[in-house]
Amino acid sequence: MATNVDAVIQKLKTTLAEEPLLNLSADQIGDDVALMEGGLDLDSIGILDVIGLVETTFNFQFEDADLRMETFENLRSLAQVIARRIDG
C-alpha cells in the first residue's frame, strides 16, 4: 500500500515542532507554507537540520537528486519525496 502523503505531513509537523533548534511551533507550519524564503525562513544550517531530522525520523537516506529547492519548497513537496523514498 502506498504511503499516505497527508500522514507524512502530520508526522513532519510534529517532528519539526519538537526540534528545539528550529524554534518552530506546530501552528506555524502549514502544509503549503514555504520552508525557506518568505515562509519559515530556514537558513543554510536549518536546511541541513531538516535533512538530518527527516532521515532519522523516516529511516531512509536522501539521494543527492532529492536535495533540490523544489523538494524543500513546503511540507507537501517534501512529504511527496519522502513517500516516494519510503515506497522504494
Partner: protein, 513 residues
C-alpha cells in the same frame, strides 16, 4: 593567456587601461563561445563581454555619471553583477563594492554606503529577475541613485588614478575602507591566476561573494583572465549548490570553510572536482580529509582584504602540506613572524604574521575619504595581520588563528581556533566558538559555545568531558554552553564582540549564584 603574458602586456599600460586590455584579450582569445559567465538565469559568452560593458558604460553616461565620480556598487553574485564590476574596472572608475541591502536595510545594513566621497549608488537588481530583464539592456537590471550622504566638498582619496575600496570589518566589527590602486590589484589577480593555473577547460563554481576582495580578486577575475567559465551563485545553500552543480558541471569550486562543512554534511554521494579551493578560517583536519574523499584535491590559500592573496598551496603538494599549511607566499610578498609580546606567552615558535607586499593596498580611509591609520595596524612598514602563524616545512606558512584570539594556559600559547577545531571534531558539534573568560588556575579562562546537530541529546558538561578525553588538559574549556545559533556578523564570521558580551553575562550570572 598566462600570467606572464598579462604581466608583459601590463608593463606598458597606464593603470586605467589595465583591466580593459585584459577583458579585451579574454574576449579575443576565448573562441567558439565556449567560455561563459553563468548564473541560474543568464549566460554571457566571453566574446560578448566588450559589447555588454559598452552598454553599461553608456547607461552610466546617460545617467549623468562622470568618469571622475566614485560609485558605490551594490551586488550579489550574478552575471549582471559580474558584468557591472567589469564595466567599472574597464572604464577606470573609482568604486567600492557592497552587498545588495535587504528590504529596508539601507539605513543600517550598508553603513559604508554613506561614504561622503561616493557620489552614486549603483544597484544590481535582486536575485530573481522578473521577466523582461536582458543582459543587453542594463536599464532592465541596474538602478542608479545619487548618494544622499554625498558631500561635494569631499574628494576621492586618490590622485588621478582610480581606486577600489573594500569594506574591512575584521572579526571584531570595526568598519573601515581599504583602498587599492588598480595596478597592485591587477598584479594580485595575476598572482592568483599563476597559482591556480586557470584555463578554458576549467568550470568554476563561485558561491563566495564577489563584493569581497577574495571572491573578486582571487576568484572571479583570475578565472576570467585564464578563460575559465564561471558560475556565480548568490546566497547559496546545499540545495541551490547541488542544483547548479548538475546544470553547470563545475570541475573547480571556491568555498569558504563553512560552506565546505555544509557540503560535507549535506551531500549524500561524492562528486569529483579537479580541485577545490578554500580560504579564511582554518579548516579542521577531519573536514579536510572528508572533503577530499567526496570531491578530490583541496587547496588552502591565505590572504587579507588589505594585502590580497598572500600565500597559496598548490595541487602538486603532498597531502600533509596541503592540509596543514597555506602553501608558499606568492610573488611580491615578504613576511616575518614576530614574537608575541611578553606576558601573552611565548612558548613555541608561533607569533604574529607581518607582511610587506609589493602589490598590497594603499592604506585605509574613513567615510570622508581621509587617510586613516588605525593604532597597531602597522609595525614600521610591516602590515600587522593580527594572525598567529608559524613557518611550515619547505617554505610554507601555517596560519593558526587570530593573535587576539589566543590565550595563555599552563604557560602555553593556545589559539582559540585550535580549541574550536578540536571541538568541531566531536560527534554532533555543528558549530563552535570559544571566548576568553576570567583568569583561573590554568591562566586565562575559556568558555566554549556549541551549536549541536538535532536529535543528539547531550549536555555541555558531557561535551566537555568527551573533549577532555581527546585533547591536552590545558586546552579543555572551563565551561561548555549549548546555543541554537552563534552570533554572526553580516560577513558570516562569528561576532566576537557579541560572544564576549555573552561570556561576560554568563560569568557574572555565575558569580551572583
Amino acid at each position: 593567456m598566462s600570467s606572464e603574458s598579462y604581466n608583459a602586456m601590463a608593463s606598458a599600460l597606464p593603470d586605467r587601461q589595465l583591466f580593459r586590455s585584459l577583458f579585451h584579450a579574454v574576449a579575443r582569445n576565448t573562441n567558439n563561445n565556449a567560455s561563459i559567465l553563468a548564473d541560474s538565469h543568464h549566460q554571457c559568452a566571453y566574446s560578448e563581454i566588450p559589447e555588454r560593458l559598452d552598454e553599461i558604460q553608456r547607461f552610466l553616461t546617460e545617467s549623468s555619471v562622470n568618469g571622475g565620480d566614485c560609485i558605490t556598487l551594490e551586488i550579489n553574485n550574478s552575471v549582471r553583477a559580474a558584468l557591472s564590476v567589469l564595466a567599472l574596472l574597464d572604464a577606470g572608475y573609482s568604486f567600492m563594492t557592497l552587498p545588495v541591502p535587504g528590504q529596508g536595510a539601507r539605513a543600517g545594513g550598508n553603513a559604508v554606503a554613506a561614504a561622503a566621497f561616493s557620489r552614486w549608488i549603483l544597484t544590481v537588481s535582486a536575485d530573481k529577475p522578473a521577466n523582461g530583464i536582458s543582459l543587453s539592456a542594463p536599464a532592465t537590471y541596474l538602478s542608479i541613485e545619487p548618494n544622499p550622504h554625498f558631500d561635494p566638498a569631499s574628494r576621492i582619496p586618490s590622485d588621478d588614478d582610480p581606486r577600489l575600496f573594500f569594506r574591512t570589518s575584521g572579526s571584531l566589527g570595526t568598519a573601515k575602507l581599504a583602498a587599492f590602486s588598480y595596478r597592485p590589484f591587477f598584479k594580485n589577480v595575476l598572482n592568483a591566476l599563476e597559482r591556480r593555473g586557470f584555463d578554458p577547460s576549467h568550470r568554476l563554481a563561485l558561491p563566495t561573494p564577489i563584493f569581497h576582495s577574495y571572491g573578486l580578486g582571487a576568484g572571479l577575475l583570475p578565472a576570467l583572465a585564464g578563460g575559465a567559465s564561471i558560475d556565480l551563485q548568490a546566497r547559496s545553500n546545499i540545495l541551490k549548490y547541488l542544483e547548479r552543480e548538475e546544470v553547470f558541471e563545475p570541475n573547480v569550486a571556491y568555498v569558504t570553510p563553512a560552506f565546505c562543512e555544509t557540503l560535507i554534511r549535506g551531500r549524500r554521494s561524492g562528486r569529483f572536482y579537479e580541485f577545490m579551493v578554500t580560504s579564511g578560517d582554518r579548516i579542521s583536519e577531519s573536514a579536510f580529509r572528508r572533503c577530499e574523499d567526496l570531491h578530490g584535491p583541496l587547496v588552502n590559500q591565505y590572504g587579507t582584504t588589505e594585502m590580497g592573496m598572500v600565500s597559496a598551496s598548490e595541487l602538486h603538494m603532498p597531502y600533509d602540506l596541503r592540509c596543514r599549511t597555506v602553501g608558499r607566499p606568492v610573488d611580491g610578498v615578504e613576511y616575518r613572524i614576530t614574537e608575541i609580546p611578553a606576558g601573552e606567552g611565548t612558548e613555541g615558535t608561533a607569533g604574529e604574521l607581518q607582511i610587506r607586499h609589493a602589490y598590497g593596498f594603499d592604506g585605509y580611509v574613513d567615510l570622508k575619504g581621509n587617510t586613516l591609520v588605525p593604532p597597531n595596524a602597522f609595525d614600521g612598514d610591516w602590515y600587522r595581520t593580527g594572525d598567529l602563524a608559524t613557518m611550515g616545512p619547505e617554505g610554507t606558512l601555517v596560519v593558526l588563528g587570530r593573535c587576539d584570539l589566543s590565550v595563555n594556559r599552563d604557560g602555553v600559547l593556545l589559539p582559540l581556533a585550535e580549541v574550536e577545531s578540536r571541538m568541531r571534531e566531536l560527534e554532533g558539534v555543528d558549530e563552535v566558538a570559544v571566548a576568553p573568560g576570567p583568569a583561573g588556575i590554568r591562566g586565562r579562562g575559556l568558555l566554549a559555545f556549541c551549536v549541536m546537530s538535532p536529535k543528539l541529546e547531550v549536555t555541555g558538561q558531557q561535551l566537555r568531558a568527551t573533549y577532555a578525553t581527546k585533547a591536552p588538559r590545558y586546552s579543555v574549556p572551563d565551561t561548555v554552553h549549548l546555543l541554537s545559533a552563534l552570533p554572526k556578523l553580516e560577513s558570516g564570521k562569528v561576532d566576537r564582540q557579541a560572544l564576549a558580551k555573552l561570556a561576560q553575562e554568563i560569568v557574572q550570572a555565575g558569580a551572583a549564584d
